[in-house]
Amino acid sequence: MEKTPHTPPRDSYTFSNAANAEIRRAAATGIYDIRGGGTKRHLPHFDDLLFLGASMSRYPLEGYREKCDTSVTLGTRFAKKPIELKIPVTIAGMSFGALSGPAKEALGRGATMAGTSTTTGDGGMTEEERGHSEKLVYQYLPSRYGMNPDDLRRADAIEIVVGQGAKPGGGGMLLGQKITERVAGMRDLPVGIDQRSACRHPDWTGPDDLEIKILELREITNWEKPIYIKVGGARPYYDTALAVKAGADVVVLDGMQGGTAATQDVFIEHVGQPILACIRPAVQALQDLGMHRKVQLVVSGGIRNGADMAKALALGADAVSIGTAALIAIGEQDPKWGAEYAALGTTADAYDDWHEGKDPAGITTQDPELMKRVNPVEAARMLRNYLNVMTLECQTIARACGHNHVHNLEPEDLCALTMEAAAMAQIPLAGTNWYPGKPGF
């Protein structure tokens, strides 16, 4: 006898397995989910743009023989000593505390080998980092952990952090597991406490105040250091304009794909804008103020390869910055630690519990045994290789578009694959000369 057909199990899109699991986890623990990294949701991104390449109307450069410059100078507006980089990709701010000492050393060494800068983070400047970084950007954060005038003067540039893409409007978070004696000492905090640093600076409240704060920092450092202002991808037009008004030499703009050491998952996934949507408004603000290429724009958040870099530059950025990709290059989430990631209930590529300090790769941890797994010299070589590959990829594209400097890449070199990307990047949809919102249509 035939069985009566019945409706197969039908999963809800709204109440998906992941959504239900999070409801159960919240009910069981009473605390929001905390994790590291950037957004994991699907977003319009650089993958949704393509380069057109040269043809009858554009004349390409020979790929292996004709020069395509990649140098960039940051801080040309006011600073006596701008930063000259060989490549337009920098290492983003990541703290000692969030990262292990060997990891920070590797970032400094690798960046130096590739001819670029690295950046401190919440927690101050370590000797390893300063010693191994030819060009070091010193972050000036709301917490002011470890802040002192000597390190300020030892820095090559100062980055005032107003926000970051993973959590625009949020402060720092480093949970007790990672507040070891050394980390606590640098931050003037008791060992083992949850460190939740402020979301606002303690001694200024807006761009008018910030202008005076920048004056103070310049007076303390003899007007030598480029002053960067880092903002999360929230309101890029106005944030950029106000940063320029406040006196920035460089604006660092971090989209929501940018990572963090730790914050609430709801913050990472639901606050901020993707970097693709941020670049054109920021560039427009600079152009409206007559400051494009005078105040340099560094963008970050989900930059993975030379194509992403080239697209960001074509949209008007002067350089890009990488954090998550740099960590992966030096060994973070390496599948060779797969069994240990599995023991933590995750997989190598999905691992995001950076706040717990148990990272098998020895990078997002303060565990002395785990951090031994990072050989700073070897890891630096891998970062150097990766940065070189990114640069070569970017040059390949720039030459194919007929440019002898990667900064000559321009919006006209691009087309968009989706309506969303076309609208966000103000790049014509492939096969058309139109994008949503284009004047005259």
């Binding site: 005038p149 007790g176 003037d188 406490i193 303690p202 001694d203 005076i212 704060k213 103070e216 303390i220």
Partner: protein, 228 residues
Amino acid sequence: MTTTLDLATTELREVNTTLQAAAKGKANEDFELTNPRGAHAVAVGLDGPISVTINGSTGYYCAGMNKEATITVKGSTGPGVAENMMSGVVTIEGDASQYAGATGHGGLLNIKGNASSRCGISMKGIDIVVHGNIGHMCAFMAQKGNLVVLGDAGDALGDSLYEARLFVRGSVKSLGADCVEKELRPEHIEILKDLLEKAGADAKPEEFKRYGSSRKLYNFNIDHAGEY
């Protein structure tokens, strides 16, 4: 010998360069600044044992990041006086605006008048003595050091406090999250005695109440979520 620098006729950059060079030279020189007229970032980044007297009131961030220098303002100061001070002594004869001594790591900030809101915010080891009253949210997230107030304190004193010690002689309008009154023990009497003497304050240590962190917010606990 005292060198006089007139801010009415000398650029701020030149004034600070002169002071910074003298401080770096560790020559124990004395300077007098005239006509500050609310100028910002006066006498910042001094890294040595010089003495600077400012005749008049200043704007933002006077004596910022001071190390070793002795700076006296014969007037009032704008926001952020002695911010992130490392060591030395900064004395304000008048009143101080908001964020006085913010994030200071060391030294003594001696305010003879009143201090506005957020005095000692995120302080990290500095000693601050306020002879008058202080405004709201003072010592917010204060980590280390001592804040001594001879007058009254405003709302939310010591909110989200870490290990800084707060001493108030007058009334406290309200305490911030995790800040509680604590026993004034003999070691605190000694600290107070020393600071009051250094600050030239006319008060007895026994007249003060001590406030500090109850340490309930140091590690997240769902039962304390309402405190955040």
